[in-house]
Subunit: 361 residues, 2 copies
Amino acid sequence: MWSTIGELGEFGVIERVTARFPRTADVILGPGDDAAIVTAPDRRVVATTDLLVETRHFRREWSSAEDVGRKAAAQNLADIAAMGARPTALLVGLAAPPDLPVDWADGLAEGLRAECAFAGAAVVGGDTVSAGEITVAVTALGDLQGLPALLRDGALPGDVVAVTGFLGLSSVGYSLLEAGIAGAEDAVRALGERARPGGARAETADAVAAAAAGGPDDAPGWLACLREHRRPRPPYARGPEAVHLGARAMLDVSDGLVQDLGHIARASGVDVDVDSAALVPEPALSEAVALLDGLGRPGRPAVQRMLFGGEDHALAAAFPPDTELPPQWRPVAAVTAPGAGGPRVTVDGADAEPQGWEHFR
Amino acid sequence: MWSTIGELGEFGVIERVTARFPRTADVILGPGDDAAIVTAPDRRVVATTDLLVETRHFRREWSSAEDVGRKAAAQNLADIAAMGARPTALLVGLAAPPDLPVDWADGLAEGLRAECAFAGAAVVGGDTVSAGEITVAVTALGDLQGLPALLRDGALPGDVVAVTGFLGLSSVGYSLLEAGIAGAEDAVRALGERARPGGARAETADAVAAAAAGGPDDAPGWLACLREHRRPRPPYARGPEAVHLGARAMLDVSDGLVQDLGHIARASGVDVDVDSAALVPEPALSEAVALLDGLGRPGRPAVQRMLFGGEDHALAAAFPPDTELPPQWRPVAAVTAPGAGGPRVTVDGADAEPQGWEHFR
């Protein structure tokens, strides 16, 4: 059998990987031709693209291939949800060294497949090329279902900014990996499997909603944070929900809450003040922060993680002041007319130094 | 001013680059939000993705940044045309070392913009990340305009396979670069500019059609081949034309005519026999092959280049036998019921060893 993708060859990799991808009702033509064809029921298509590069965005010793696939899919599908759209399709480019094990490519494909299944989308196309390092390029498509898109520029003074999904868990998960927790990998995995209902991760939006309401799930907190770093779980269904609730602006919290709310502030021409008392850490987050302290690697406290930690792919949206929000949407900030120095984001009325994740610098 | 993209930072690169991209009527929302929104007039969207990796697909000493941008866009937009669709939009991911000159990123963006303008599409989104090598990930979207898509599986015995666009020029252009012709870069560029009408490349489909009918253009042949390698010119408008002409199968010739017709043969369950006498080399191709001989670097003869050379991004389509083809479509092969050993592609009735371009091997 083939052990590396170099032995298998480009067409072999593509055939092997695409065999794994089921079709959905949105797939008119899947992989295998010059291009795919996907439904666009309301005559508009939402589209976004992101790259993940090894060592920059993931490390093979810290994340399995399936983790990388799930994360690559999740961060793009979350961008679709953040427009208020329903994810429909994914296209994936894989650049990788010829000595990459076929197992790794299989795992990546499985992760992409599983995350798409979770979000209701399908992998419809791809490309593989040889390169010196692993780069995963993902494009996601989505359907606005006849509703207006939620951009960043619609927030008005008086609006309430609410968040759904996790904040800070991915950040502390990353710190745990930096602190060397990956040395306990086997124990971590065994615990992780045991903690999942039926031995598998819950794959419904309801399960995620329940988890968001009651904590990530019943895994040990630090393990939950590791897992959220490796496999963030964006609240996909909450994106279209925000449109129905009357939200006026929305985005995906990928670079940290303060930094990302800055995009809404600038695009909408408003100030946004975060109420730090509204940022109640998940027990898992607090537990992981305490573990880091116990390991002699104290870092940012939990609320700082929630303000500045990226990659959880929560959604943040500005709602009119009288909106009745479901409990999964947690009000965390107020929108006001821009004052001196605005548009800007403050925390408890004071300047907050954004410490998000910006590439190249 | 900023001299490298590392100094400019991710958001700086994105702002600078996207400022360059004009909107078209298909762009509902361009770059700058979580995702773009593009029209999909007939409730379907065609989508394809490809990666270009430095040293594997281009060399900075052989191609300008603008060349790379044009080629990255062209190879994806050609896949859209090969479905019979009209290209509408492009999303671009750039992974690059922080020390990449800002000028190079600007040139890449200019190339992407120019090729999109040529094809009638718009750049609507992107991502930039730091990496050890340059990777350009492009996704193209297209509109089928209410017509059926042209797949690879519809060819029937009796059909005539016709080609539009160039064959072999990119291949010999690559060989010229391998032979060291890039040392005469300044002279090449000066000649190239002079040879273009008004000092700029003709940017209309008619101009390309005229070029396809009468030769690449009035540049010296070897120079034309260099340019086709650096900036292939797919005959975008011929894709939808093939649908109107009644074609039953079509694809983009990216890996070489024989290898790509193999996809039609296998998908359609037919044999395809190429008539080598129908492959009349462009004067530019013959001139470049002669120049290679003169340089003491003899390679494949012109017709072999047309059979096996990739990256010109011509279109090949199977038409019913009685189709009246415009002169830009040149009949080159016949479709027959599969014989022993079929489905397969033959040249003048004999086996031809495919020598296309496959990654990883």
